[in-house]
């Protein structure tokens, strides 16, 4: 359990060029588990995730961790929907986050080897990362995010466009991370995945948190008409 | 990769040798093109252990270099400009060293009949009548100044000439190249002409008038104006250039059996 949490969002709003993308959002994230964010396209899922990660400029309100801002920034990681590969080898992509924080060389190699095995790329450590397939890239991005052993991990649609095998690999890595008490906050379009992984869930609509609850209630007994419609697969205007 | 580049750089930099005592001397292109420097410089190195670094420029720039103190001495051939240089205090005096002569070069066919002229002035008058292509240095050099003076002596003004008169604004060699390309007349110093490799259809048409003689003088830059100039070296060099040893080398220098320079320095 991390002493970073809870994360408290107070009156958070993000506006760009006069358009409201998010807010007002008031939210407290508790120390454990996996929070799944669902909602239609453009509902503010990614923006919310970026706000929590601290890479989106707030127009209003505040997002505060239980620890100082600087420490919090060091103890979290983010996996993007489209994996960003450094133009380096697979091994160097894994090394990079550790090199940034001046990890001893031996420690780097131990962890790199561990993760290479974990994502099944140990035979291709010398390959340019940009040459990997989509699923391999996403697994590498996930390993690169976890290699610093972050307290909190954000994932934005990590399995969009991936085949079943890659999705299963990624979910298995996430389950392990959860078991090791990593706090995970992720978005997804895949309701099956949402049910499989979520501890609690948020339904975003028009930039605000429309409904929230523990996974058991959230999926089996949605309270609002909009969430019920969303689960039915209706288009929500 | 960095170490390899470093190794490469080291190799390159070791190529520079340490330099002995050196003096910067601005000379005219015509002097450099004559090839005389190739005889004099090694002898100077031998006798004085002095490296003479030649800056080969037009007389105009040579004088400017001296005024600015960018060289230690100059060796040029334009008496009026030299006297002005001394009068303005940039140098303390001028010392005549030697002279050579200018020659008229032109197409072998000689449409203007320059070869039959009785004097330099008459040669130019003939050109002024026929108006064949004529290349002028046009770079304020000693040769250019001489050419202007010769036109004046023939009662002609180059400023009024038409398109046949091409002021190219280039050194002697480049101007000769242009003349060769245009099949044009040109005034050149004899040495540059003899050493010139691309004669094409050009030939020496007229020479010999005393008005075409070209006096070279040595001027040390005034150390009172520029404390950093190596006046001591300039004086050494001047003594050497006016010595019997220099006289022998200068008078003995020939191209294709032709003597180019006449030593005429007077002992102090």
């Amino acid at each position: 359990m991390s002493r970073m949490l809870p994360l408290t969002l107070k009156d958070v709003a993000v506006r760009r060029r006069g358009k409201r993308l998010l807010g007002p959002v008031n939210l407290t994230l508790h120390p454990e588990g996996l929070t799944m964010i669902v909602g239609p396209n453009g509902s503010g899922k990614t923006t919310l995730l970026r706000v929590m990660h601290g890479v989106e400029r707030l127009s209003d309100g505040s997002a505060t961790w239980a620890v100082a801002e600087e420490e919090a920034r060091h103890r979290q990681a983010y996996v993007f929907q489209t994996p960003i590969m450094l133009r380096r080898t697979v091994a160097d992509n894994l090394r990079y986050p550790l090199q940034l924080i001046a990890t001893p060389r031996a420690e780097i190699e131990t962890r790199v080897n561990h993760w290479a095995r974990r994502i099944g790329l140990e035979a291709r450590m010398g390959l340019q990362a940009t040459r990997l397939s989509g699923g391999e890239k996403q697994k590498l991005a996930l390993a690169r995010a976890l290699i610093r052993k972050p307290d909190v991990l954000f994932l934005d649609e990590p399995c969009a466009n991936l085949d079943g095998a890659s999705t299963r690999d990624i979910e298995s890595i996430l389950q392990t991370a959860l078991a090791e008490k990593t706090r995970i906050i992720m978005t997804t379009h895949d309701l099956g995945q949402a049910r499989r992984l979520a501890g609690d869930a948020l339904f975003m609509l028009h930039g605000v948190v429309h409904e929230r609850g523990p996974a058991s209630d959230f999926f089996s007994a949605p309270q609002t008409a909009e969430l019920q419609a969303f689960f039915r697969g209706d288009i929500i205007a | 990769m960095m170490t390899r580049i470093a190794a490469l750089l080291t190799t390159v930099f070791l190529g520079t040798a340490a330099l002995a005592e050196d003096i910067k001397l601005a000379v005219t292109t015509s002097f450099e093109n004559s090839g005389l420097a190739d005889v004099l410089l090694p002898a100077i190195k031998e006798d004085l252990d002095l490296d003479v670094q030649l800056l080969v420029v037009g007389t105009g720039q040579a004088l400017r270099l001296g005024e600015a103190g960018d060289v230690d001495a100059i060796l040029v051939h334009s008496r009026t400009a030299e006297e002005k240089f001394v009068a303005e205090g940039h140098g303390t005096y001028r010392r005549e060293i030697m002279y050579n002569d200018f020659v008229f070069i032109g197409p072998k066919g000689d449409p203007a009949g320059v070869a039959q002229a009785g004097s330099a002035a008459e040669a130019l008058k003939r050109i002024g009548v026929v108006k064949p292509a004529f290349v002028s240095r046009g770079d304020d050099s000693g040769t250019h100044k001489k050419e202007i003076a010769l036109w004046r002596a023939a009662d002609l003004d180059p400023d009024t000439f038409g398109e046949w008169y091409r002021a190219v604004g280039a050194g002697m060699g480049a101007s000769l190249n242009t003349a060769a390309g245009l099949d044009a007349y040109i005034l050149a110093d004899r040495a540059s002409w003899l050493n010139f490799g691309n004669k094409a259809d050009l030939d020496l048409l007229y020479a010999g008038d005393a008005a075409l003689f070209n006096q070279y003088a040595f001027l040390a830059v005034n150390p009172e104006k520029h404390a950093h100039v190596r006046n001591d070296l300039a004086v050494q060099l001047e003594d050497w250039l006016t010595s019997p040893r220099a006289a022998d080398l200068i008078n003995g220098y020939t191209i294709n059996g032709e003597t180019l320079f006449i030593f005429n320095a007077k002992p102090e």
């Binding site: 010398g126 | 990769m1 050196d22 670094q53 050493n195």
Partner: protein
């Protein structure tokens, strides 16, 4: 045609006999242009990268200025450096005019904008690609520059090569500030200009061929350096 043949033959003999003048002139060309390249790269690579990733008040102005400077005619650079370094100019006391240092200064001024501009363009693309990741990893400004320079090194090598090509082939500026002094500041390009002036096309061509061979040689060896360096990893 004859000139070219003669040039080739005499170039061949000059090279195989290790003509001392030719060696000295070639080494000096390399010394001047490589020094200029190292200095200009040290300025231009971080500058171009900085311009690509940092937003600041006069950024656009700086970029336009850089692009304008890239078009600076070398002769004008030569003239300005000449006036500055002349004994009667502001930096006259340094006594640098007509030395290889003056030539290096002129070449640095000529190629720095070129290298910085190419760097800026390449780095802008790379930065767009890396932006989110590097922000997310909480990198410092210096770490970002280092990462971009390292991962964009092939582009930067290309930028530097372009600068080197311009430096070693340049004649206008170094003729003015170097003075083409035999045994002191004469390099391949100024020697070519001199020999052409003497109407000695064969020697001029020979020097020209050496210059071309040198430029190609440097290009190939840098390419080779970067290849072996790549293969050396894993």
């Amino acid at each position: 045609m004859n000139d070219i043949l003669e040039g080739l033959v005499s170039a061949f003999w000059l090279v195989v006999t290790f003509d001392p003048d030719l060696m000295q002139i070639s080494l000096r060309s390399l010394q001047v242009s490589l020094s200029a390249l190292v200095i200009a790269s040290a300025i231009a690579l971080p500058l171009g990268t900085f311009l690509a990733i940092r937003r600041f008040r006069y950024r656009r102005l700086t970029i336009s200025l850089l692009n304008a400077l890239m078009g600076l005619p070398p002769v004008v650079v030569g003239l300005i450096v000449y006036i500055l370094l002349s004994r009667s100019g502001p930096f006259g006391v340094l006594g640098l005019l007509f030395t290889p240092t003056a030539m290096i200064i002129a070449q640095v001024i000529i190629i720095t904008p070129l290298i910085a501009s190419i760097t800026h363009q390449a780095m802008r693309e790379l930065w767009a690609e890396y932006h989110d990741l590097l922000i997310s990893l909480n990198t410092s400004g210096w770490q970002r520059i280092k990462t971009l320079i390292w991962d964009g090194r092939r582009n930067l090598l290309t930028a530097s090569l372009a600068g080197f090509g311009r430096a070693i082939g340049e004649v206008g500026a170094i003729m003015i500030v170097g003075g083409n002094i035999d045994n002191a500041t004469r390099v391949l390009t100024t020697a070519i200009a001199l020999e052409t002036g003497k109407g000695d096309f064969a020697l001029a061509l020979a020097l020209g061929f050496v210059l071309i061979a040198l430029a190609i040689g440097i290009n190939v060896s840098i390419h080779w350096l970067s290849r072996t360096e790549r293969e050396g990893r894993w």
